[in-house]
Symmetry: C2
Subunit: 233 residues, 2 copies
DNA sequence: CGTATACTTGAGCTTCCTCAACGACGGTGG
DNA sequence: CCACCGTCGTTGAGGAAGCTCAAGTATACG
C-alpha cells in the first residue's frame, strides 16, 4: 500500500513549509477516515488518541455543560486541523466534534506526534500559530459577548460563517452546510427564538434568505456593516 | 555583571524541565524590569518585541474594543508567562498589560526566541501547554457567558481570583491586589452597578466583606457552591 | 480639609428569555 | 404517489434579568 497523495494537503498551513520528503513521511503516518453526516469524530472527555486534518466536509465542535446545555465552539472546514489536544499536553478532548456533512479527515495517532516533531520541528511553529489564532478568536468572542447585543453577535457569526464556508449561489452566498436556528443560537449565546426573529427581520429587509437548515446571505456588505458598525441604526 | 539567580524562576512550569546549564543560558538572555503600579508593560497593537515572566506583583490584561469599551481578559500572577505573542506568530500584542501593583518581570527580546528554541526545544512544549490552557480557559468563559446568569459568573470570577491571587487574612481570603467593581464587571460582561448590588447582597449574607478596591472572601465554600451548583437556591 | 475616585442605591425601562401554540418542510413507508 | 410524522421554523404574549439614568455617600490622597 502506497503513501497518500501529497496534493491532498496542498497549501495547508502547517504542512506548507515541509520538504517533499518530510511531507511524505508525515503522510505515511496518517490514515484517511470517512465520517458520514451525523457521526462523531471524537467526544468530549474521550482519550485524545488522534489528531486530524479535515479534507472534505464540515464539522461542528460543541462543548457540553454539566447542566446539559450545548455551546458551539466553532465549525471546521477543509484544510483545518482539529482535535489537536496532544499538542497542548491534554490527555482528553475538551469538546465533541460531529460531522454536519459527509466528511473525510486525515487522522494521525497521537503517539506519533513526538516522532513527527523530531523529524519536522517546523510543525511545532505551525501548530503554535494555529492554537494562537484560536486563542485570539476565543478572546474576540468573549469581548463580543461582553459588549455587543444579540443582533450584532448573530451578524458577526454569520459573517464568519460566510467567510469560512460561504459558497456563491444564484443571488448571494450560501452557508455550505445544514445549519439550524438553534445552531446559530448556540454560537451566539442566545435562543433559537431570538435568532428566528432576527433572521425573519433580516429577510424582510432583503439581507438574507433562509429556510429549513439553510441560510443564504443576499447582501454581505450590509450584513458586514451590521456586524462591525457602531450601534448607529 | 553575572547572570540572574536561577532560583528566580524556580518551579515555573516552562522552565522546570531544563538542565541547570540550559537554564543559565535562558536566564542570561533575560533582563529584569520594574513596572510601578499603573504603568503599562505593553500596549495592544504595539510591536511584540519582548515576552515575559512575572516575578513579583500583579498585572491586568485588558482588551479595548473599537468603541472604547474595555474587557479584562485575565490577571497575571507571579510565575506566569505573558506577552507571548511571538511564539504564536503574531507581530503585535493583542491586548494591553498594566501593572495593578508594583511589579517586576523578566523580559526576553522577541528575537532571541529562535535561539532559545534551538537550544532548548523542550520550551516549545511548555509554551504549547500554556497557550493550550489559556485556550481552554477562554472557551470556558465563552460557555459561561452563553449559559450562566450574571451572579454566577461573578461568583466564578471571584473563585478564580481567590485561587490565583488569594491571600489569607484575619477571617477569610483577600484578593491580593486593588480591584474595583468596574474591574469585576469587565471580567464578567456586566456593569459596575450590578456587581455592586451583588457584592452588597453577598456581604449581608456574610459571604464576602469588601470595600474600596478591596474584596475579602469570608466563606469560600459557599462562594464556590454559588459558582458551581445548579440554579438551586 | 478639599477633591477625585470609588461605591451604593433607587426607579424606570429595554432587551431578551420563557412559555405556548401553530405552521411548514421533507423524508419515509405504505 | 400520497399521507404521515418528526424536526424545524414562526410568531405572539408576558415576564424577568439586568442596564441606564440619576443622585447621593464614603474613602483615600494630596
Amino acid at each position: 500500500m502506497g503513501t497518500l497523495d501529497p496534493s491532498l494537503v496542498d497549501g495547508m498551513p502547517p504542512f506548507a513549509d515541509l520538504t517533499p520528503a518530510d511531507l511524505d513521511f508525515v503522510l505515511s503516518l496518517a490514515k484517511p477516515v470517512r465520517y458520514p453526516k451525523g457521526t462523531a469524530v471524537f467526544a468530549q472527555g474521550g482519550t485524545a488518541d488522534s489528531f486530524f486534518v479535515l479534507l472534505h466536509g464540515h464539522l461542528q465542535v460543541v462543548k457540553l455543560t454539566p447542566e446539559g446545555r450545548q455551546v458551539v465552539l466553532r465549525y471546521v472546514s477543509p484544510g483545518e486541523m482539529f482535535g489537536i489536544a496532544v499538542q497542548t499536553g491534554r490527555a482528553a478532548y475538551p469538546a465533541t466534534a460531529v460531522a454536519v456533512a459527509d466528511s473525510i479527515a486525515l487522522a494521525w495517532p497521537s503517539d506519533c506526534w513526538p516522532a513527527l516533531l523530531t523529524r519536522c520541528p517546523a510543525l511545532a511553529a505551525g501548530i503554535m500559530r494555529t492554537v494562537g489564532s484560536r486563542l485570539d478568536e476565543a478572546h474576540l468572542r468573549v469581548v463580543e459577548m461582553s459588549t455587543q447585543e444579540v443582533e450584532r453577535r448573530v451578524a458577526h457569526a454569520l459573517v464568519r460563517l460566510v467567510r469560512q464556508a460561504g459558497r456563491p449561489v444564484g443571488e448571494g452566498i450560501r452557508i455550505d452546510f445544514p445549519i439550524t436556528r438553534e445552531d446559530v443560537a448556540q454560537m451566539t449565546g442566545t435562543t433559537l427564538h431570538t435568532v428566528s426573529r432576527i433572521l425573519s427581520s433580516w429577510e424582510q429587509q432583503g439581507l438574507v434568505e433562509s429556510g429549513r437548515q439553510r441560510i443564504v446571505v443576499r447582501d454581505p456588505d450590509r450584513l458586514f456593516a451590521l456586524a462591525e458598525r457602531d450601534g448607529a441604526r
